[in-house]
Subunit: 330 residues, 2 copies
Amino acid sequence: MVSINDVAKRAGVAKSTVSKALNNKELVSKETRLKVEKAVEELGYVPNKLAVSLSKKKINRVGLIVDIRHNSQFVDEISMQYLMAAFDKSKEYQVEVVTFFSSQFDDMSYYEINTLLKSQRINCLIIYHLSIENQNLYKVIEEKDFYIVLVDSYMINGKTSCIAVNHYKAQYEVAKKTIEENEKINKVLYIAGGEGGHITNERITAMKILQHEYKLELLIKHGDFNELKAREITLEFGKDVDMIICGSDLMAIGAEYALRDMGINKPVAGFDGIKLTGYSQLDFNTVKQDFYLKSSSAFDELMSLLAGSKGKHIIIDHEVCRIKYLDIIQ
Amino acid sequence: MVSINDVAKRAGVAKSTVSKALNNKELVSKETRLKVEKAVEELGYVPNKLAVSLSKKKINRVGLIVDIRHNSQFVDEISMQYLMAAFDKSKEYQVEVVTFFSSQFDDMSYYEINTLLKSQRINCLIIYHLSIENQNLYKVIEEKDFYIVLVDSYMINGKTSCIAVNHYKAQYEVAKKTIEENEKINKVLYIAGGEGGHITNERITAMKILQHEYKLELLIKHGDFNELKAREITLEFGKDVDMIICGSDLMAIGAEYALRDMGINKPVAGFDGIKLTGYSQLDFNTVKQDFYLKSSSAFDELMSLLAGSKGKHIIIDHEVCRIKYLDIIQ
DNA sequence: TTGTACGCGTTATCAA
DNA sequence: TTGATAACGCGTACAA
């Protein structure tokens, strides 16, 4: 590989002059700059970013931890949106990003995770959909060795921010709309996400408020964001209720198909607004959120943390709507 | 950050000794090794991989170029499988990987692409679904500056291998099966992928063979792997044919839904075997391929190229089947 | 304006 | 068995 020394020799100047000619053009005379550029051209010289990182005092490298399990089969669409946004932002901020899948960490100790990240000089993280199961990632957050933004999790400290839609409000709105669109809703089945999660609890609170406002009978089951579990819950309890509200579109699809197989037709509501819903051609209310925007904002917030701001809780907008096939494929 | 120098001081030895104690344990006495390990423990020392790369003669870094456009909305599922497999393999081979989206290169010149890759000391690439549009990536292949494995493209040279299913055979089989499952098929609409692509040409050849064998009337249109185009083609020509064979599942879904909207029911066939098909609950023959395995094999082949083998063409297995919702969600 | 010398964190060579 | 030193490729303070 051709290095800065080769360029210096070829141009007949010192390597520091080459460096200046390339990075601080104003510190070098026009003619030496041209000599240097000519040599760069002829040799096909490309600066080694690894060496630059090593030489510079402070370099920010962002680790992106994407969740592809989450007990469901089809969040690929969401993860891809997250990654694309983060990649675009990394270009904007001139920061390097490294991609990880959360499953990589499943069989690693806290020590191993810590070592893996630090060996790559990663000093900040964006963690998407942190699942409760991975205690070691929680420890990473608690230890405060990294600047972190959590997407769709709820936790804050001096170096950690989080970002999400207002889950309480969104769940309230989509459920309320679905209730009002239909007549005589008395008994509601709520298929929640994971048990004990902060976000799931917020949503359940919304459902309980609605329970009082509409004098509903409310049955709560946990589907763990898994379409198969949602299907089984629906097969078991679906016939006794007037409506099914789900904590994710995936579970809503599971519930709808289960109802169809049972020969029943009942209102259903989902959450997320993923395109997959459009492909399924099922028609239910859902909470649509902009995953790309959420990830972009997460990146902005991370840069803000690096600049010294304290961890905070950020809310992004949502919209209650239906996902249509013909809109999706445009 | 704590460096090897800090460890050396703490342990009371030279840093070269620390390096040996950690990497070539046998070259160091047991007691100094223990001293070093104790210091490492106490200080929480983690070696800096950037510095290691700089210091070592030869380091392999693999760039993964994933295609998220491809004129279609929903190949996220496939890309995720590719990435997961490559990440797993990178662990196995102890090689670093860097992820790119092909769209990043859209507005870059060949020179810029080359610089971006080389600045990160990337010396080999896996390119998934290289689209004809990006001439600059083609140039990257032709220049032979990188060891490359192409997934689902057809090109070979001294440093480039490619891997795919046997597109001719697969297309032949799935179309033949669909023809034989139905009676009096005379006129067939083939919605191909991109015009001029090698793989599309192979598949069209298969269709032409079938045309002669079954004395079919064959109408070929290009849907560019886009479900909307497939829909429009079907709306225009669907009523005049007995069967529609598509170059991708996505286009098959577009065709099926178009037929449904036209109030017609005709046999359709797809290609890829993606899970999305199961979620759509449409029931058509398709070619199922193992994306994870394909990507794993691509990585193996890349390592083989690095070890000195010549570029070759690798075929992986496929299976003609139908994708069922209940199988998908298990 | 240009060049010398040092530091970044690590491995490798060679002498002690 | 250990340690001093050079080298990897680059940026930069400082001296010329």
